[in-house]
């Protein structure tokens, strides 16, 4: 019998690496439905939440250099998030994944920023798109009420 746990690939995951200002992020490609360039996305007239609105990177809103939109399917709902500067699609092996050090782990505000991947020895912040989508939806719900 194959259980759900056994199906999870524990060797690592293929990730979309992108840059927001001076910070590199990586998101599991399996959690991303589509990646659109901004002009192509704008034709759909759908709204996308800028990532820096979910997680402030500076005190002022950032200017996107190469805006793109990723769509995430979460529990039957499509969530769209605007990211910047997609750089690469790369495999991050489990040996290159670390949890946050204790102080950061205890003090971080968003659980969807879940760890660190080492890509060419450089720390890249890992995003769980499903957890991020859940937060987007819960923010939306809170705004409606």
């Amino acid at each position: 019998m194959t259980t759900a746990l056994q199906k999870i690939n524990i060797d690592g995951f293929k990730a979309l690496v992108f840059r927001m200002q001076d910070i590199q992020f990586a998101a599991d490609l399996e959690q991303i439905n589509e990646l659109h360039e901004m002009p192509q996305w704008q034709k759909t007239e759908e709204e996308a939440v800028p990532l820096d609105r979910l997680i402030p990177l500076t005190t002022i809103p950032i200017v996107y250099k190469e805006p793109h939109v990723i769509t995430i399917n979460y529990q039957g709902t499509r969530v769209s998030v605007q990211i910047d500067q997609p750089e690469d699609i790369t495999f991050i092996p489990i040996d290159a994944i670390r949890s946050f050090p204790p102080l950061v782990d205890n003090l971080r505000q968003h659980l969807w920023l879940w760890g660190v991947g080492l890509i060419n020895d450089k720390p890249v912040l890992l995003i769980d798109c499903h957890k991020m989508a859940a937060e987007c939806l819960s923010n939306q719900e809170a705004a409606w009420h």
Partner: protein, 174 residues
Amino acid sequence: MEETDNYKSDRILEEIHKRKDRNLEVQKDEEKIKLVVFTLGSHYYALHGDSVKEILTVLKIVRVPATPPFILGIINVRGDIQSVIDVNLFMGQSPTQTSVHSRIVIAEKNGIRSGIIVDTVQDVLDTPKNSIQKPISTLNDTIRYFVDGEFSYRHHNVTLLDAGKLFEKMTEKS
């Protein structure tokens, strides 16, 4: 002069020698502690040597958004990810500016390990435990909690920090 004569000066000298010997014995038995002395701006601080794991030159610090400002970010230390903190910012002072002399002191206490950015590392010294005085009463309560004491080093007043209590207080501040 009779042999039994006991001059006062002789007795005084004898007492002085006895006291000197006693002092030497006390000094020999005195417990010494290892301290790492560093500067942040114009202030001198120290950490207990047993809590300092290594001292690094400043590496590329990767910011982690949505963490308190005193967490400068993370660094890759030979494959291990360590946080880097700015004690100055935590104490409500101006941020520490990095220079060629700046160092990251990796400290560990009570299972929490983190880098602390400092302006300069001045010395690693063994000092008698009894040279550490109680912290001054004017320190505010937040800082006093993680200050272990004070001592004098090359005409500077050095504040001895307890890394464990500092990390604990930082976690509490959330």
